[in-house]
Amino acid sequence: MTDLGYDAAHMLGAVVLLMSFALLYQRRLFSLLHVFTMQALALAATAAWQAFSHDEPHLYITALLTLVLKAVVIPVALHRIILKMNIQRTIEPALGIGLTMVAGVSLVTLSILLVLPVTEDATALTRENLALSLSVVLLGLLMMISRRNAVSQVVGFMSIENGLILAAVGVAGMPLVVEMSVAFSVMVAFIIFGIFLFHIRERFDTLDMQKIESFRGESD
Amino acid sequence: MTVLLASLYQIVQMLLVLALAPLLTGWVRLAKARLVGRRGPSPLQPYRDLRRLLRKEVVLARNASWLFRAVPYLMFTAIWLAAGLVPSFTTQLALAPTADLITLIALLGSARFFLALAGMDVGTSFGGIGSSREMMIAALAEPAMLMIVFSVSILVRTTSLAEIADFMMSGAVGLRISLALALIALVMVAIAENARIPIDNPATHLELTMVHEAMVLEYSGRHLALVEAASMLKLLLYMALIACIFAPWGMATAGGGLLAVLWGVAAFALKLAVGGALLALFETSIAKMRVFRVGEFLGGALLLSLLGAIFLYVSRGV
């Protein structure tokens, strides 16, 4: 492919990764949602670009799905939930922001280390893309474990999915099955989350997981 | 022919030990008396005592069981048989192959077993005291005895008394540390087994110190006579045993004629006399020890005998 195409793809991937870092950095729920929206946009752009550069039209669908779901529906829904349940708007980190950043950086290094030996037959693009998506996934997981709020954990989960899609669109000729299943799963996942938030809303007056978990497995 | 002769010798032996046992006891008492400056009873006194006891009626505890009445006969027979197995004047005994040293020890053990049971039968506290102490003493005396057998048999390669005697007489052994140790151990065991000072005092009935006497406290009349006779036999048996292993000289061996046999009898009598005198001397020169030191005393015997066994390896690569 052309250098331009390579650079563009690479650049967009990098933006997605940057956004994950930004997610880690946020202290307020709303800004968190905004950053997440931006990540979704970047992801959609990547998908679109890949679709264009490899001309695989089905990737346009992926891009569209991502755009609609991740960049519009989900952020709005979460916004609603936050307002409706008037949860406190600040994120209380379980792990200090600085520490989280350090961890994030080392994760990225790890993923690069892991991808390095993949030189031989794989094209440069898959390598970069692999490193990027790996990092995004790991950062999403880090996000989930370093924040206490349910919403921020949902967001972390989503960004893991973003990493998956980033990997999926990067590789040429990935059958549609997967994107569909991803989208499907994310959608279902979100519904389930919703159901749960609802039930939990019934039972507890907060989304802070500490309280939920105060229900111990064994009541003894 | 030899079988007949052997059986004859065997019968003579049985009667001989039976006849000599009270005399030996009487002799020991006399010697003790003389050593402490008393005139002392005649050596024939034990015979009279036994006769008197046999005449007397038996006073039996109400709740005594058949076991209580059977035991005197059983133990007397066992000890008599055992005594009959120890070559005294000849090694040519008919019963020699049926039983070796180990069997001998076991026979004495069964006699003790039943006597201890009899002690517990009536259910008085003295019987209990006697039996429990007796069994504790036995628990240490028997292993010591077996270790002595072990070290002797390492040398002689047998545990049959006749062959041991033959071997010892052949003089192939010579003087040995281990044998000396074994002898000392055997003497200690003998003292314990025969309830002599310092383990026990046959003459006392002081409850706290009694062992053997406490067991047989409930016996009277003919039963007591049997028990007493049995203990006399036991004393003789041990002397004969020591003599047979460590001083078998003068014993008639295979093919020895009548003269040899007579000479053997005489030698045996002499050995008994000397042994009795030595025992009396020992008893008069030492004090009775507390019952719970007995364990240490016999433990010492056990260790000595074990040491003897191990010394043999050192002294000569068996």
Binding site: L113 | V59, A61, G109, L117, M120, G123, P143, S153
Partner: protein, 674 residues
Amino acid sequence: MGFVVSAIAFLFVMAATGVAARRLPSVPTIVYGGSAAACAIVVLWAAATLAGGGGVAEGWVLPIGLPWIGTHLRADALSAFFLLIVNFGGITASLFGWGYERAHRDSHAGPVLPLFPLFLAAMNMVLIADDAFAFLVSWEFMSLASWLLVLSTHREEGTPRAARLYLIMASFGTACLLLAFGLLATAHGDYSFDAIRAQAPSVSAAAFCVVLVLLGAGSKAGLVPLHVWLPLAHSAAPSHVSALMSGVMTKVAVYAMIRVLFDLLGEPAWWWGGVMLGFGALTAVMGVLYALMQEDVKRLLAYSTVENIGAIVIALGLALVFKASHTPVIAALALTAGLLHVANHSLFKSLLFFTAGAVLTATGSRDLGRLGGLIHRMPTTAVLALIGSAAISALPPLNGFVGEWLLFQAILNGPALPEWSLKIEIAVVGAALALATALAGACFVRFYGIAFLGRPRSRAAGEAAEVGAGMRLGMAVPAALCVALGVLPTPLIRLFEPAVRLMVEAGPFDDRAYQPWFWLAPTSAIGNSYNGLIMLAVIALLSVLLVLVIHRRASDRVRLSIPWGCGFDGPDPAAVTQYTASSFGQPIRRAFGSTVFRARDEVEMPEPGDTRPARLTVRWTDPAWALLFTPVGVAVDRLAERANRLQFMTIRRYLTLMFLALVVLLVMVAVTQR
């Protein structure tokens, strides 16, 4: 072979009957009768096979068990001998159990009927198994059946703990055997015994196997310090089951030792026997010391089982040592002693447990402190118990002594060995064995004297009544054999000579000119001999003579009176002052217990003028628990407490765990790829 298998099948049928027809009133008769019949068949078969000079060479292969191996069954001379022992025990246990069941009909115990035949069947299967899988299945099945039998008294306090400990220790043993067979079968999985024999294991593998087998079979047989479960479990079960477990199942463990160490492992190294000698001596002495501390009749008996197992293991160790030093005749002597003791112990230990069961039935108590004077109330039982006690105390002319005698003959051959360490060890072991024997005598004087002699220590004991015919028959048979084998041991020894030959390639009588059949004169290495028949004859003759003479010559007048009760008066003064079990044990406790068990007597003496009786309490600690089992239990408990925190964490923490696991694995990959 077919007989054995069909007998086992029949036992399973009996078990099914026990379940199906449990409502039927006559079902105990059916089940116990059937079990006895099945056992009898096997006994006859085994005796015939041994008499015919050894077991069947070729075995059966059934298409069950491990798919590509199948189940191999074979009964060689060794198996035949142990089949004889096990099933004879089975017969007597069934007889006694039949009577016992009727006596205890009302007590709401768990199901014994279906499990009893299963237990017998399992033991038989162990003995004829000819591949590792079949062996271990039967072995563990045996544990399972006996565990459930122990649990049949699950309502009694203390039983659950005993049962639990038992099953755990049994599975520990099985695990050890599992590992041992794993080593023997190698990675290719040649589990059949023939394949195992074919390939000689490496030195290190053989060493591992020896240790593992001693742990595995030893924990089943009750080798100190793995014995702690044995007295608890054996005494918790119903008495005829206790008899089976103590008298018979331990022998199956001995069989396992012999099978692996003498047969499967090939040429032994000299130190194997050394290890066994050490453990055997320790077990013998400790076992009898434990027994002397017990107040519970059945525990006392169980501990004495531990002691006898020690003696048997000493015999095996000697045999192994001599086999390793290529003096097969002496090895044969030692092994003969061991096997004979196996037979003897199975007889008198069953007998004694039966008597304990009879006493329990008559008085409802197993506590020595509540028994006494039973010789008047239960004459038959008393006589049989006396025979048993005398036999287990190795008194001539009973069978216990014969085994002891042979064993000492073997020990006296110790000096013939090349290794100095062994020579000295054997001397010490000999001393230990002698000590154990003497202490056993004391132990059973205590047992018999307290339980059967003296005066009743409780109302129940005073009102006890003799037990029924079934139980008495079950006791009489082994008692009779104890006497018979003591007088004429040689026929039995000749009978199982093929088994000895099979293991050590020599017989006990090999290098001795022909002896009349009633002589016992094994090796010529030491020219000793023993003849129980003549001994018995002479003793009988002499005593008859004696009785005649005494009663002819001396007075035979008897006057009954009350013995002096140390100043107490009343109808039965001495009863107050009578010795108790613990006071009887006191001298020996002082001599040995104070060091081994840290035993302390605490006397609480009331003030002068106070009429309260003084009381003596004995405190002692079990070293096996203090040093081995309690620490393990505590360790597991602590770890469990630690691990338990994982149950109560927040979801975020669980996610963190997951994340860390992922990162660790990724790092591992990254590292390995370099």
